[in-house]
Every structure is written in structure tokens, then in C-alpha cells.
Symmetry: C2
Amino acid sequence: MSALTNAIDILRCFSTTRPDLSFADVQVLTGKPKSSTSRLLRSLRDCGLLEQDPHSRRYRPGLLTFELGRLHRAHDDLLAIAERELRDVCARTGHTGYIAVLDGYQQVVLRIVPGSNPLRVVNPPGQRTPAIVTSNGRAMLARLSDQDIRARVPLDYPKVPANSPQNFNELMARLNEIRRTGISDAADEAIEGVGSQGFALASGESGELIGIAVSYSVQATTEIERANVRRELNAMAAKLRRMTGDPLGQTIEQLAGLAS
Amino acid sequence: MSALTNAIDILRCFSTTRPDLSFADVQVLTGKPKSSTSRLLRSLRDCGLLEQDPHSRRYRPGLLTFELGRLHRAHDDLLAIAERELRDVCARTGHTGYIAVLDGYQQVVLRIVPGSNPLRVVNPPGQRTPAIVTSNGRAMLARLSDQDIRARVPLDYPKVPANSPQNFNELMARLNEIRRTGISDAADEAIEGVGSQGFALASGESGELIGIAVSYSVQATTEIERANVRRELNAMAAKLRRMTGDPLGQTIEQLAGLAS
DNA sequence: GCACTAGGTTCCGCAAAATGGAACAGACGG
DNA sequence: CCGTCTGTTCCATTTTGCGGAACCTAGTGC
């Protein structure tokens, strides 16, 4: 274990639910001896990755992380193009749009497009969620090889909401369904009463993968409205796949060509 | 030099003007041997602080920095309170608002409130600028002890625009003026044709220091309008200093009490 | 086909830094 | 005044990181 690894382990303790931590919190979360914790926290503070509140003495991510985070234009073209299209769809439908990426078996929200409907934004950018309980998370997983999926999902399958796939076989069944239809959906999973539909978009040249979803209240939408969302997403997916050279888009167009 | 220091040195090579770097760029900027550069870049990539574009092989800040950056001062009340007040002022005046913090002798933009006037935002969040050439940068410096200021400004005084203080004595003269009036201004310094006025706000309990400024086109504003901005800022400063327990606010109120 | 170069990785002996148990220190609470 | 809770400093031991040199791989010129 390198010094850097230990430092990163501390940084990874911070999250939206735990935006600041005390010395003791860090010690418990990392399981390191007091002396090591003390030394590492001081190093991280001195170099700007952490700040320490002078009053409460609690630690939080520092100025350097803010600066670097602003520079993270990861997947810039892909992300920018997708975001523009998503804005259009959200403006038309009034629902809230999400763009996320996969990290291990979790997804991380990168962008949000607030809708005009009064469903408050529940997942701010930076939020981590197991990919298996969201529509675009599953859409991204569906684009990976079965072997890769198996490697990402923890061996003891996590406890998930009732409507989510309860075990690896159920998960694979839903992923295969997504592979067939190209669109993924979810309802009453990560958040009660919230549904979403999404798809995954890959860049043809870089192979980057992002998930795009539209989210709405299950109660406040009709089946007709949800079908409309599905149409919008299919249109957006087709357009984006053409624009970005997504190999899946080419496959779909070939199939369409054969059928006609 | 610890391993962490070397890693941070690499991270600090990235900036708004250099959002991504090649292996060779990093090697030149850090001056480290190839082997060390190679090892460090791999470590940083593996732990998520950097990403590598699979096509161009260039490096850029990674997902982890994005996540941590979102958490930076997520909870900070000083910043949140100041931002809300600044929004009001910007809505009334139409100008663009900035909130920044001091880091050494540079300031880093934390928040921007775009105005309705068509002056494009020139300093995105994360932007670094020498504090001595901006209104709120100088306002923050003015709140420090002379000794602290001297320690922060480089020994060989940097080359600055014509309207900025040209040497340490001129700088101290302007800082003393700010200490007297409570408001700082700048015109045609960091950016040609752009002026700004600002002040510094300290939290009474934590001692944190932020700079708040309103920026406008020098050509497109009249002296009357700029006097109006000054009034708005003075009102905002007084209100915020009361709300946050800024010790300077108490001093000013004491003086006012003595005078009456 | 061959030499040359740019860009990057791997190897390895040595020096330097991280590690963590234990002793120490400050702040509260009774 | 003593215990406790929190965090820091010390120091012998171990592990890492370090960087020069060798090596590897593509591309380029001829």
C-alpha cells in the first residue's frame, strides 16, 4: 500500500452524505492507527486537498479539489453534445434529465437538467448510486460484456429495493431486455415514487460510455406520457448515436437496413 | 519530498489554460525524470485523480476530483449567505458578481453570478489571478497584517498591468486606502476595459476570508452608475458583516457609535 | 530494409519516507 | 485531582519511492 493509496482512501471517505469528517470519523472509516491518520490528514491539509475548519476542526475537501474538479471536463465533446440534446428533451417534456458515468458498479451523476415539473432534484452532481438500481446505470451495464458485468457486481449481491433486480440472474435478464430494446426503465427503485427511462451512449472513437436518463414522478405521469418520454429518448438516442459514432447505433441501422 | 508532494506537484500543473497534459508536458513542467513521471502518472490514474484519454493518451483531472470538487464547501454558510446577497445586488444592477478566496498571493474564483448586462464572464470558477490586480483580491489582502502581506507577495514584485500597483509601496498605499474606505476598486487591470469594486468578508467565528466583487464594463457605465454600485456594495457589506459576525463590521459600528 | 528519434515503460540498488506502537499533551467533566 | 477522550509527537523498523540506465514500440526519413 503506497502513501498515495492511503491518502486516497481518506479522500474517498467524503461523500454527499458526509461532506465533512472529524479526525475520529476518518480513523473509524479507514481503520488506520491514530498516528497514521494524524500524519496523513496533516499532509492532505498542507497540500490543499483538504481544508480544516478552524473552529470545529473538522476536515473537508480543499481548494485544490475545487480547482481540479472544475477542470474535469471528462468526455467533453460527448458530454456537451449529449447535454444539449437532453436540454431540448427536458424543455419539451418538463421532466428532469440526468447524465452519469460508470465507476465500478456505481454510477456518478455528472450533469443535471432540471425540469419544469415540480419534482425536486434528488441526485445532485457527484452523487453515487449503485448502477443496478437506476435506468441509465443498467443501460450502461448492458453495454458491457457479461464477463465485465460479473467482475463489477460484488460477489455477495447487494440489498436492493423491491423493484430492482434481486440477484445476478434477474439483473442479467433485465440487461438483456435493455440490449433488445435499446431503452432502460425503472420505477420506485432508488427513490420511492420516482421513475425514469434512460439509455447509454458510447463514443465511437474513445469508447467512453455515459448514461442519459429522464426522471419523473410515477404518480403524476400517465402511461401515455411515459410512452411519449420513450419516443423522445429513442429519437435522442438515434440522433446522438449518429453524431458520436456510437457502434451500437451502426448496428441498429444495419439491422434496419436488412429489414427493409 | 514525500510521494504525496510529488503527486500534488503534478496535479498543480493543470489549470484553466492547461486543462489536459501529455506525458511530455508533465515531464517538462515538473522537471522530474521520465521514470518518476511515468510511475506517478500511473498511480494518479489508477487512483482516479487523473484520467487518460484513450485516444490521445493525454491526462486530465479524473472523476475523483470532480466528486470531491462538488463537496468543497458544500456546507459553507459564509459562502452561501454571501452568494444569496450578491445575487440580489447583481439582479438589481445587472452586473456580474464574483466571490473568491485567497491562496498565497493569488485569488481563486469560487462563485460567479452572471449579470443581465452583455459583459461576458471572463473568469470562470477555479480561475487563479494574482490578488494584487483585482478589487476583491486587494480587499482581502487589506484585511491581513502588513507582515502577512509582505510574506505573501513574491520578493521580486511581479509584472502587473499599468493601472495596478507597480511595487510594494504602491500596493500598501492602495491597501491602506481600502482599510480606510472599506471598499476596493479596480479599472483596466486584469482585463482591459473591465472595472470592478469589491470588499472582503470575514467570518467572526471561523476567521475565513472571502472577497466579493461586482464587475462591469468601464466604457458602458457612467460615474453615477459606479457610485450606485458602491452604495449597493456598502449596504451589502454592512448587512453581511452583521450576519456573519465579521470583526471589521463591529469596529465600523463602534466608530459610528462614537461619531454620533 | 535500416537507422534514427520521440515517447514511454521496466529494472534495480540505494536513500528516504511511511508506518504504527507507545509515550505524551491538552481539554473537558466530575 | 483523577479519569477520559482526542489528537500529536517520538522513534526503531520496514517499506516505498527515487532516478539513472537499459529497454521497448511506433513512426519517419532515406
